[in-house]
């Protein structure tokens, strides 16, 4: 045990002595940031909407702007027509609304003019405002229809409506889909980087062989098995630390709430990580040099991560490819997380967890078989 601890300390020191390894270790955090940038919003969820008021003389026209400004999570900014498009293009505004001259009058007449909602971010940003605005304008148009051109009657009903005499009850539901996507893709990146990190750590065995220090190690009281055990132990420690760091970064720095209890998420990731370490040992056991193991890791990890949906959502992939994903451990981890987010209990996902454990056991068994077939301790691995 004393020797294994000595070897572990040596492996850790040697690994993190190199800046490139520290960068590789921190890549999952960068991956999560990238994913959050691509797929989600980090932290604040407010919409910034610019409004060009060209019908300011009319009270009804002014009320439209006030209605939009009063919506939850919307920050309204008055702007000019010329400025609006520039600010949207520059990303300073999420969307813009132009209230044309005579809009109020058209509402009163029961034939509201078309309101243009401008955005470069598409329906995912404008849908909420558009729906609320449509509802409001429909209500005002209905009032106009009831007034039948009688301006006094319109003003009376409209006045009561705006005072809140007409009770509109609204239930706000949390839209978790965006957070879910962000979490899913962030974990996808984490999974890919975990696999690359595991191989990088296991490659140390090949590095020792290449610089012949492995031979000297084995001529000391260290056995090949205790050497590999120390390497695996360091890999596990690094994996747990990497997972904890990434999850904490996601939760407390990027404020991404995955919707899954953090311990359940961590357990699933560590279970997957053990499988990734077993796979990395298998890759090393199949390789005679680091060049070979690098080629193998690229051949195995990158395509399987793609097929399992680590880089892109599975929904965009054809059915045949989705079916292949079922044979990959990454898929079962992401599926576990997905189902936890959908409200399944952790206990009900025992089959997913068993499959992940089975992948780890199978990879480890093949790697051990490969190692033990060779009774020459000089080329044990």
């Amino acid at each position: 045990m004393k020797t294994i601890l000595w070897l572990m300390a040596h492996t850790l020191r040697n690994t993190f002595r190199k800046r490139s390894n520290i960068i590789l270790f921190l890549l999952p955090v960068a991956g999560v940031m990238l994913s959050a940038g691509l797929y989600g919003q980090t932290g604040g969820t407010g919409l910034s909407i610019g409004i060009v008021q060209q019908d300011g003389a009319d009270a009804v026209g002014r009320d439209v702007a006030a209605f939009v400004g009063a919506l939850d999570g919307v920050k309204l900014t008055d702007t000019s027509d010329a400025d609006l498009r520039d600010r949207i293009a520059a990303g300073k505004l999420d969307a813009g609304i132009v209230i044309p001259p005579g809009f109020g009058e058209s509402l009163k007449a029961g034939k509201p003019m078309q309101l243009e909602l401008l955005s470069v971010k598409g329906a995912q940003v404008t849908a909420y405002v558009q729906a609320m605005l449509d509802g409001y304008l429909n209500n005002v148009a209905s009032i106009a229809a009831q007034a039948k051109g009688d301006e006094a009657r319109f003003e009376q009903i409209y006045g009561e409506y705006t005072k809140g005499s007409f009770k509109v009850s609204r239930e706000q539901l949390t839209d978790a889909s965006n957070v879910k996507d962000t979490t899913y893709q962030s974990l996808g990146f984490l999974v890919a980087f975990m696999m690359f990190s595991a191989v990088n750590m296991s490659e140390m065995i090949l590095r020792e062989k290449e610089n012949r220090t492995f031979l000297r190690l084995l001529s000391s009281p260290v056995t090949a098995k205790s050497y590999v055990a120390a390497n695996v132990a360091v890999n596990v420690v690094a994996m747990v630390f990497q997972t904890a760091l990434t999850l904490c970064f996601m939760r407390y720095v990027l404020d991404i709430d995955s919707g899954v209890p953090i311990m359940q998420l961590a357990f699933s990731l560590v279970l997957f990580g053990i499988g990734a370490i077993a796979l990395s040992l298998l890759i090393v056991s199949l390789s005679k040099s680091r060049g070979q193991s690098s080629a193998l890791q690229n051949l195995i990890i990158t395509p399987t991560c793609l097929l399992a949906g680590c880089y892109f959502p599975m929904e965009i992939m054809p059915d045949a490819i989705r079916k292949i994903g079922a044979f990959l451990p990454q898929h079962w981890l992401l599926d576990t997380v997905n189902r936890l987010q959908q409200g399944d209990s952790f206990g009900s996902l025992y089959m997913n967890l068993l499959i992940l454990a089975a992948f780890a056991a199978a990879f480890a068994a093949i790697a051990i078989f490969r190692f033990s077939r060779n009774n020459d301790t000089r080329t044990f691995v």
Binding site: H10, N211, R212, S220, P221, N375, T377
Partner: protein, 311 residues
């Protein structure tokens, strides 16, 4: 007392026997030379003594204990200096020795003392903090030795420790080997350099095709070949020399050329020097010197194995 006893040792790789029914003993306090050409079975034997390779058959005892059953005991008392440098280029000399010594269970002050002692012994005491990548070939070789001796082993196995280094470092290493031996270490030494083995070894074994074909002190080995002699003839140029004609002269066993020197091995009892000189004159050689040599280890090796050590 015997530190190593090898009996009926065999190692096969498929059908090829790298070591073939070898038996050998090493006594405590010896510097034992292991001579053999490439592929003779030296490294395979050494690897089995160092528990790096399992024998196909036979037994190795270290201080009376079977190595296969007492590998930990043997490893704790054996230091291995591999032929290839086995050091971490990105760790300082001190860190290298410290790491390997730590594998033997040393910690704290004792570890520090052992590391400093080993580095001072090989003359790298003032280079402790430097990285081996900045070292000369000789300094790296010395660090390679320091990593093997910090735990003060009873037996040190040195596999070609002077390959590719300058004469100064080679001399330093040879003196270190003698010093280690004076301090009580038994040394098992392999080398391609006959003169090194002749200079430092107290007993020598000649290995060929996985077998020990002769062993003893250098005097005992030389006595084996009293029936042959070596004639060295220095010429201005060997251009035009007909080696085949020389080999046909009665009593000539072999002819070798080393720059402007022709080395002829011949039966001792046959007086053929005149015939040899006349043949050289016929070939247009301008003879500068003729010398008859008593048998040396190289002659012994050549006679016993039929090939040069560096073949």
């Amino acid at each position: 007392m015997n530190i190593i006893e090898i009996g009926g040792l065999t190692k096969k790789f498929g059908d090829f026997a790298a070591v073939d029914n070898m038996s050998l003993t090493l006594k405590e306090g010896e510097i034992f030379g292991f001579l053999g050409a490439n592929g003779a079975g030296k490294s395979t034997t050494i690897s089995m003594i160092a528990s790096l390779l399992r024998p196909t058959k036979g037994e190795i005892k270290f201080l009376g204990k079977n190595i296969a059953k007492n590998a930990h005991f043997a490893k704790m008392n054996i230091g291995m200096v591999p032929q290839d440098l086995a050091i971490y280029e990105d760790m300082s000399a001190y860190e290298n020795v410290r790491f390997f010594a730590g594998l033997y269970g040393f910690r704290g002050g004792e570890l520090k003392a052992r590391v400093e002692e080993a580095l001072s012994f090989v003359g790298l005491g003032d280079k402790q903090k430097e990285l081996p990548k900045n070292f000369s070939g000789g300094m790296k070789r010395r660090l390679n030795i320091a990593c093997a001796i910090a735990h003060r082993p009873k037996l040190i196995i040195m596999d070609e420790p002077t390959v590719g280094i300058d004469p100064h470092s080679r001399n330093y290493i040879l003196q270190s080997v003698k010093e280690l031996n004076r301090m009580g270490c038994t040394i098992l030494y392999t080398s391609h350099y006959m003169e090194e083995v002749e200079e430092i070894c107290t007993r020598i074994a000649i290995v060929d095709h996985g077998k020990i074909i002769a062993d003893g002190t250098k005097e005992q080995l030389k006595a084996i070949i009293t029936d042959s002699k070596e004639i060295w003839i220095d010429v201005k140029s060997v251009e035009g020399l007909n080696q085949e004609q020389l080999k046909e002269i009665r009593g000539v066993l072999s002819v070798r050329i080393e720059e402007q020197r022709i080395k002829i091995q011949s039966r001792a009892e046959i007086g053929n020097l005149n015939d040899i000189v006349q043949q050289l004159i016929r070939d247009g050689m301008e003879i500068r010197a003729v010398e008859e040599q008593a048998p040396n280890l190289e002659t012994v090796f050549l006679t016993l194995t039929g090939r040069n050590l560096r073949d």
